[in-house]
Symmetry: C2
Subunit: 258 residues, 2 copies
Amino acid sequence: MSAVERRGGAGIQSAERALRILELVGAAPTGLTAAEIADRLGLGQSTTYRLLATLQHDDYLARQPGEHRYILGRSVDELGRALQVQLVATDPVRAVLRALHDAVHAPAYLTVFRGDDIAVAHIADSPDHPRIGQLHVGFAEASHTTAFGKLMLASRDDAAVARFLERRGAARLTASSITDAATLRDQLDEVRAQQLAVEVEEYLPKLACIAAPVRSPAGRVVGAVSVSVSSKDLPSRAWELERAVRRGAWQVSARVAG
Amino acid sequence: MSAVERRGGAGIQSAERALRILELVGAAPTGLTAAEIADRLGLGQSTTYRLLATLQHDDYLARQPGEHRYILGRSVDELGRALQVQLVATDPVRAVLRALHDAVHAPAYLTVFRGDDIAVAHIADSPDHPRIGQLHVGFAEASHTTAFGKLMLASRDDAAVARFLERRGAARLTASSITDAATLRDQLDEVRAQQLAVEVEEYLPKLACIAAPVRSPAGRVVGAVSVSVSSKDLPSRAWELERAVRRGAWQVSARVAG
DNA sequence: CCCCTGCTTCGCACTATGTGCGAATCGCCG
DNA sequence: CGGCGATTCGCACATAGTGCGAAGCAGGGG
């Protein structure tokens, strides 16, 4: 087909082009015209229109009547909904998080491990006890500086952790962040022993976080339930928070399907 | 490639296969293995693995370390997020809906017109004033029996409305549902004149709904703000509700970008 | 009323791209 | 060490995908 190498291209090209179209259209708040898409992707019009027809046929794209621009369609919404289910963000689970929040008066988080990423599946907070910084529902960088991140790493063996660090590095976010591989390894051992991860001012100043593992029926660690508090409150509340988080994680585990 | 015709196939097949894989994986709460996918799609392994590699490369699919099953990846979430933006479901807009709900003590809805579909972009309700039936955020069938549906139809010309009815029909949902094309046309004229749509027990028994149009800066009607109340309350509150809904729609319009 | 300008579809010729099949590897478990 | 699933590789074929150019449409000014 075309001449020279395209960047990034690994695999089926027409599939990749289709995906790129979706991303492009999604990135434009009001959608794009066929010409704009063809232009930005460097495709001929024939090709572009055929691709667009396919995406439209399956409702991944739609267009307002009369308008000449393509916008994301309902299938995108359906996929997103399916993702929510895979993230275990069901109503009963949300209820557990809410109860946890109400019990400890601190924001509560449900995170799910996904490959090398961490997905924040749900947050129960309130105006009085706002969530951590800019953390929001969606995918987040997995990090060794968060309690749930440690839990995720602890669910793997040392070799896998080493590979992970090689890929992602061990960034220093605060003065307390752990950047030494050996220190981290020791901590992960402790996490495995306690089945609990704690983080104190390693991710954001003045903040601490406690996380307990969520397990699938098969016993696999698939995510974490956690709460964050001001680090100065941690010493006096550690015992209470640990109990609450452990219970929350247990309750969520009981409500997880596969 | 393969032999006989496949159902539905209109357009680029590898793109369609990629999309079908995403749907398949999304439909399985705990993901699928490569073999299962190949099997259900009737594809050879070579092809399947190549397709999977592509989807994984672009983060539409991911897999747990060690696991042999594919799950939806972060790109799916990103697309869904992009859709939210296109649906105008931004924080300032949500705030308007919340204020509207608090003012009238009734559930408030923001709907966005998308092709022939209606997307429920946001709902502001409360335990005291629950939302309409099973209506939830996401795409919904456009219907001439809802206030926002009438608004959507009213934003088109008679020919387009006729075409729509031909495609979707005019189903009777309650005793009051309008099923006669001529009657509907007259009502839509009235909607255009008043820039307001009302529905009384046409969608669900005992429920009434009032909707006002949201306009893009260009003046195009792109959606609706609406509230629903018990139909027995409508007569006494009509004036108040109309004012509140009109104001809400105006405020949302002012916060819409393109 | 008709031309002009963008959007969209069509037809065609070419071959790169996607494909199936089978075999080779890999990785894990017993 | 043997066996079994998962995954990759190699190869030959032709289909599916592509670009280009031209033909339809639709709409908006003049």
